[in-house]
Amino acid sequence: MSGETTNTSSPGADVVRQTMEVDIACVGFGPATGGFLTTLSRAWAENPADPAFESKVAPGMPLQVVCYERADDIAAGVSGVVTRAQGIRASFPELNPAEIPMAAEVTGERVLYLLDPVGASRRSFTLRAADRALRAVAPVAGVRDHAFELPWTPGFLNKHGGLVMSIGQFNQWVGSQLMASGLVQIWPGTPVSEPLFEPIAAGRAVRGVRLTDQGVDKKGNPEGGFMPGMDVRALLTVVGDGPVGSVSQSIDRELGTPRGYTHDEWALGMKFVIELPEDAVADSPLKPGTVWHTFGYPEPEIFGFLYVHPERLVSVGIFVPSWMTDPSRTAYRYLQHYIQHPALWRYLKDGTLRSWGAKSIDESGKVGEPFLTGDGYARIGENSGSTNMLTGSGVDEAWTTGTQLGEAAIELLRKGLPFTQKNLTETYVTKRRASWVERGAREAQNARNGFHNGIVKGMIGMALAGLTGGRLSLKAPRHVTGIKAARVEETLKRKEAAALAVEDGRPFHDALLSARGWPEIPFDGRLLVSHQDALLMGGKVQAMPGFADHVVFPDAGLCIACDEKTCIAMCSGQAITLADDGAPTFEREKCVHCGACLWNCAPSPHGEHGNIEFHAGAGGLHSAEN
């Protein structure tokens, strides 16, 4: 079903857009949408003749279900994860990890507190004192390689029985089965720019999505080969576009958010996939399924992880959180220092960097839960507030919210009921509220409170919430996150670094950390490589021509006046750089779509909606081993 309509709502031009009618349009192909589509296509496959699955827009045909994904490939998901896989195993009871490349059963877990072997870490007086005490009793306490292993793994972190996976490979595995089912079409390389709103008696409904214009210049002006993005009209729009998705942003902006909603806790996860040497250290504990959680280094606020996949592959990475209020936030250089910590370097040092990636993680949890449904749409996955920051788990939760919406949609189809807010709430939201996802979210709700007052309080608060199932937590007020004004000497160092970045073409984040006393990285061309080289390794950054820049700085004056320029330091791909006039400039060809700039805009008072807009864009990291 298709046709053409003249649309005059776009600013500046009368654009003739193609339109297409489908039953269900999904935005973003990640674990949440994977769960939704798997549930739906399975029910259809059981009985394709079931009239419930007849298309309303193309009578006589099966349900018309499409899913649009920005990345060039559905395997381009950027995440190595460890998950309890409770929801995933519920969907695939016979799941054999060997069928999914890079997947392994969790075989062992450790939690390590990492001391600072370098002396550059920003540690408080209290923490330094504690470190000294720990070092003093090192032989008794079992401190080895500047790391102290917790005698047990707290239950809330425990992933025993779960899986170590590559999300890229998991997505691909799920996507292949979905495509082969014949009900679902998944289209990579197709960003969605916005939802289609339509006035109804009760306000506004979502009636599908508009795909992004192609054949435009950086600013979005039509040029050779202009192809206006198609309007895909749908009876149900499934919004699973992740933490920085443009459709999610638009719905929140246009249709509002619940009272008390804050969307202000974030972290940037950045990781390397490293191939261990064939002649690994004899006593190496890095067997497939091994999981390490670390904290304390390279900065007290930075948590780290190491997951071992089959075939000597290791995912190792860090989370740089938004509550690290230092304006010198960055990730790549920190990650290089992290892997060189003696407790990790002992096993990693002769390895080879195979790929690299980064993504923002929405850590707001329950308080960042938007309206889950509206007329014509439902929200699933990370942007629906499903990530549990107490257990550090998001994939399984996202998947499960997708399956819940899938079951809800089947129920409504079978009853012949429309996808109204009321009907979706009574089905999807009811299922979600009654599930382990919701229970976990409530337990985790206040688990991070203490971190706003420092790492020690934060750990205490987290332990308290974790060990009491959320019944107890620190009553510390939830701070607005953001970046504290820097001390005078800090400011001077930043200026020095900025000068280096402009004059020598040196990456800003790199110059910053050197100015702060971190040792230079001994590049070896194999595992320790420049940030630019990493962009070209294993996971290459790609940007198909003909799309507009998806990162935009609306007010250049505000950027020039900004002292912190955290967007530049935090940019995972060095896609944002500093120009002579002090304004940031954006290069689409280097952007990995991590979305860190969106919540690292220093002029923003709330950690979001600053002077950076993050639109839908095509491309990003094209990597297999992520």
């Binding site: 073409g505 590049f523 070209l536 002579d580």
Partner: protein, 342 residues
């Protein structure tokens, strides 16, 4: 005993063998000596007698097809000619230059003879068995292979063997009759690209590689594309260099960005472009690692001007990397070679 046939063809004069053909001849003679095989040379030319003079001193048996139809590179006539020469020589091993002319037909000819072909051969080793070296995955993986089946056709990459340089003497070329097929294709000639000077010219001593950095924003926040174009063209003129480019720079053309107007895909080196074999290469504003850098894997001496000392394009790949702004260096360099050249 193997019977080696070296297929050769004439240049545009119709009466002299191409350099690549002479390279195949020396490869054939060397191989025949090593494995103890007989060797013949097959000549495709309007005047095979004249063309054969250059290889008469080789001592090989000379076979030729004669006539106007062989003055043009065309599948139907060339395939018929090569097939006839192979049959006449009863060859078990057929060596030929990997020229555009033979690359077009050799596979088809191997099939007609019930044989097999391998192309882009860079070295022929082995004594008991012939071991052929070639690259896979765009010059990223090197393999040595062998075949039991015969006849076995091997197309040699140009520049991998020295050209046969015997004294030219009148040749005795046995004329081989060819059953000409119906000719449905006429060759109207050669067309040089409009930007004649700026293509990859194998005869140049230096390959100048321009990377995408030339069109990116410079430290002042602006792009300087016209200035970049002047510097590059000025250098090509002054140094007589051949121009290669990275894929990312060539690709910008279809993106509607301001881009260097004289670059086309014919200039592209690397993963989906050429892998030229110039004695010297100078890379500027290039960045990348393994997949891109294959573009200058076969360049002799390599130097680079780059702002990033740790760049994968240069580290371990170039002999010298100058950490500097290419705009400044090239302006000075042009001034120097301009004055030398004047």
């Amino acid at each position: 005993m193997e019977s080696i046939l070296v297929l050769t063809h004439a240049d545009e004069t119709g009466a002299a063998l191409t350099k690549a053909s002479l390279e195949a001849v020396s490869a054939g003679i060397e191989l025949a000596g090593r494995i103890g095989a007989s060797v013949s040379i097959g000549i495709v030319a309007v005047d095979a007698q004249a063309a054969g003079a250059a290889v008469a001193s080789s001592g090989a048996r000379l076979l030729g097809v004669f006539g106007e139809p062989f003055g043009q590179a065309r599948y139907s006539t060339d395939a018929a000619a090569c097939e006839a020469l192979c049959r006449a020589a009863q060859a078990t091993i057929v060596l030929a230059p990997g020229s555009s002319r033979f690359t077009r037909v050799a596979a088809g000819v191997s099939h007609r003879l019930g044989g097999f072909i391998d192309t882009h051969i860079t070295a022929l080793g082995g004594t008991a068995n012939i071991e052929a070296s070639r690259w896979f995955y765009r010059q990223r993986i090197e393999a040595v292979l062998s075949r039991d089946a015969r006849p076995w056709f091997l197309l040699l990459d140009s520049g991998t063997h020295a050209a046969f340089a015997g004294e030219a003497t009148p040749a005795q070329v046995e004329q081989v009759a060819v059953q000409l097929p119906l000719i449905r294709t006429t060759v109207s000639g050669l067309r040089a690209p409009t930007q004649g000077a700026q293509t990859i010219r194998p005869d140049a001593k230096l390959l100048f590689v321009a990377g995408a950095g030339w069109t990116k924003k410079q430290p002042d926040g602006q792009t300087h594309v016209p200035e970049a174009a002047d510097l590059i063209l000025g250098f090509l003129r002054g140094a007589g260099a051949s121009l290669g480019s990275s894929k990312s720079l060539v690709d910008q053309g279809s993106e509607g960005q301001s881009v260097l107007p004289f670059l086309t895909h014919l200039n592209q080196i690397g993963q989906t472009g050429a892998t030229p074999r110039h004695p010297k290469g100078l890379a500027t504003c290039c960045h990348g690692e393994e997949p891109h850098v294959v573009g200058w894997r076969f360049i002799g001496e390599r130097r680079a001007v780059s702002l990033d000392a740790n760049c994968g394009w240069t580290r371990g790949k170039a002999d010298v990397v100058y950490v500097a702004d290419a705009f400044q260096v090239m302006a000075k360099l042009n001034a120097l070679i301009g004055s030398v050249g004047a």
